[in-house]
């Protein structure tokens, strides 16, 4: 078993990548809502002050202004904590970005339960559900530094609105640098036949560790990084369902309306019924603490996912 290397926080890699790209492309504009510090964008502001615009603590205005800038020909990254960006400014995302079809890159920082100890006001475990139901906005949830970098590069060439979310913790490195990354195309991190973990975002590394644990018990697990929650890679999902005995989905989101329910709906509509479990944050008063403590509490951990896999296979 090889332990994946520890990388940096996706948020830091996002900030470095967007700065690197903006040096070459003056059309790149970053818009913030008093969030340049938490978005790790202070170096960007110091080096390229003409390419960053501060909107103050006003997320609705942030998104509307981002749409207007995009209409002016700018390549716009609207950067704000995911909890506020996708709740307070949801109508601006729906109307000014998605419905009006302006290709703003909506960057949700400190997403999921990254702000764990700050309480539910600062959690964004509704964002997949809210945005999945809005036409014309893609949802990308990078699992590691490689996916983060590639998602930002891919976003530049993406002609439609996109939502990309990042957390603050150092991530395991899951991919080699020559891995192919395309928005909407899942990445198979590990092959296996007994069970498939389909994970998105920061819990993906934990699914990989679970798969490594289970291998010692003779259980062979495939691990898929479903970095794009919408549009979902149906082909990868259906292949996994046809070539393994069970599926567990893993996400830093409510059990409602996220990756798991999206996968379940596709499988059932393709007439596929197999042992299936959604590991996510239950519809409960979310516990508070460090992001990883919250993950552990809800079984989004190597141990929790290993146990869930054994249990599912035993039932199946």
């Amino acid at each position: 078993m090889i332990a994946p290397a520890i990388g940096r926080a996706n948020l830091e890699v996002f900030a470095d990548t967007v700065l690197e790209l903006a040096r070459q492309d003056p059309s790149i504009m970053v818009v913030t809502s008093d969030s340049r510090g938490s978005g790790k964008l202070v170096p960007f502001g110091e080096e390229l002050p003409d390419q960053i615009i501060e909107m103050g603590i006003a997320e609705q205005n942030l998104v509307g202004v981002a749409a207007g800038l995009a209409m002016s020909g700018a390549t716009v990254f609207a950067v704000s904590p995911a909890c506020f960006l996708t709740a307070r400014a949801l109508e601006q995302i729906k109307n000014d970005v998605a419905y009006s079809d302006h290709p703003v890159k909506l960057i949700g920082i400190s997403a999921g339960v990254s702000y764990g100890a700050l309480g539910a006001t600062h959690h964004s475990i509704h964002d997949f559900a809210a945005l999945r139901a809005i036409n014309n906005v893609g949802i990308v949830v990078p699992a590691d530094n490689f996916e983060t970098r590639e998602a930002i590069r891919a976003a530049l060439a993406h002609a439609r609105p996109l939502y990309i979310r990042y957390g603050k913790k150092p991530m395991l490195d899951l991919h080699s640098p020559d891995t192919r990354f395309e928005i909407g195309e899942a990445i198979v991190i590990r092959e296996g036949e007994d069970l498939t973990f389909i994970a998105t975002g920061e819990p993906t590394g934990r699914a990989l560790l679970a798969a490594q644990n289970l291998e010692a018990d003779g259980i062979s697990c495939r691990v898929i990084s479903m970095h794009t929650v919408k549009p979902l890679d149906m082909e990868a999902l259906l292949y996994a369902a046809r070539h393994s005995s069970a599926i567990i989905t893993v996400e830093e989101h409510s059990i409602y309306g996220g990756l798991g329910e999206a996968c379940a709906a596709i499988l059932l509509q393709h007439g596929i019924c197999l042992p299936f479990k959604i590991v996510a944050i239950p519809d409960d008063y979310t516990v508070t603490g460090d992001q990883l403590e919250i993950f552990d509490h809800y079984g989004i951990s190597a141990a929790g996912l290993s146990a869930a896999a054994r249990d599912l296979l035993a039932k199946g």
């Binding site: 504009m29 003409d50 615009i53 909107m55 103050g56 006003a58 609705q60 205005n61 998104v63 509307g64 202004v65 981002a66 749409a67 207007g68 800038l69 995009a70 209409m71 002016s72 020909g73 700018a74 109508e91 601006q92 109307n95 000014d96 419905y99 009006s100 079809d101 302006h102």
Partner: protein, 272 residues
Amino acid sequence: MRTLQRKSIEYRKTILRIIKAANAGHTAGSLSCIDILNVLYNYVMDITPQNFSSPQRDRYIQSKGHSVEALYVVLADKGFFPAAELDTLGRFRSHFVGHPTRKVPGIEHNTGALGHGLSVSVGLALGAKYRGSPHRVFTLLGDGELAEGSSWEALMAAGHYQLDNLVIIVDRNRLQITGSTEDVMGLEPLADKFAAFGCAVRSCDGNDVEALTQALEQLPFVRGKPNLLLAQTTKGKGVSFMEDVARWHHRVPADEEYAAALRELETAEMTL
């Protein structure tokens, strides 16, 4: 000036005709703001079908999207699409829906939910400044929509960034769907509020094309400040029994009311 006045009357007749045919529409609000749109498109703004893909063109965002019939009628007159397409208003799969969409030639941005247009316009004005483009950004707000807090977020940013290339026109007809704006959620002292947010504020009769042209000829009102024109209008303007009556917000005239309205407008046309 006589040409603009004549256009306003023709536009009013067409607004009523298409609303009557569609059996739906925002009648009084469209009649309230039509003189503003007339002066903007025919006198002030540089927006034509020929320059619509040019980055240098002026921009217009109709934040009070529900008065879309007025916008459709003016865009048809400007030649953005054949006037006959207006007759599809509200029909199944027609692009001419009850709020502006970019599917209709000449429209920059989809609006309809209130309190959005000003933020988008601030983004456009910032974009123009950053690109060094001399074009201006015009936006039309309803007065009732100023209860949306997002409008004030946008105003704060407009003042902060000294967007003197932004022209905000408020259709101040003092009525909203429920009744008087001052009864529903008081706005006054509105001019003082806008001034406190850093705007250069002017006021004029918003149903008088001459007063509108004179006011807008003064742009920019003050260098370094967003321009705000309080256009003092009458909801339902031009049809006596619709004027200043809240229930005409989206009421469709009955046959006899439609005929009476047309008679009033034709009389007004003859007396020009």
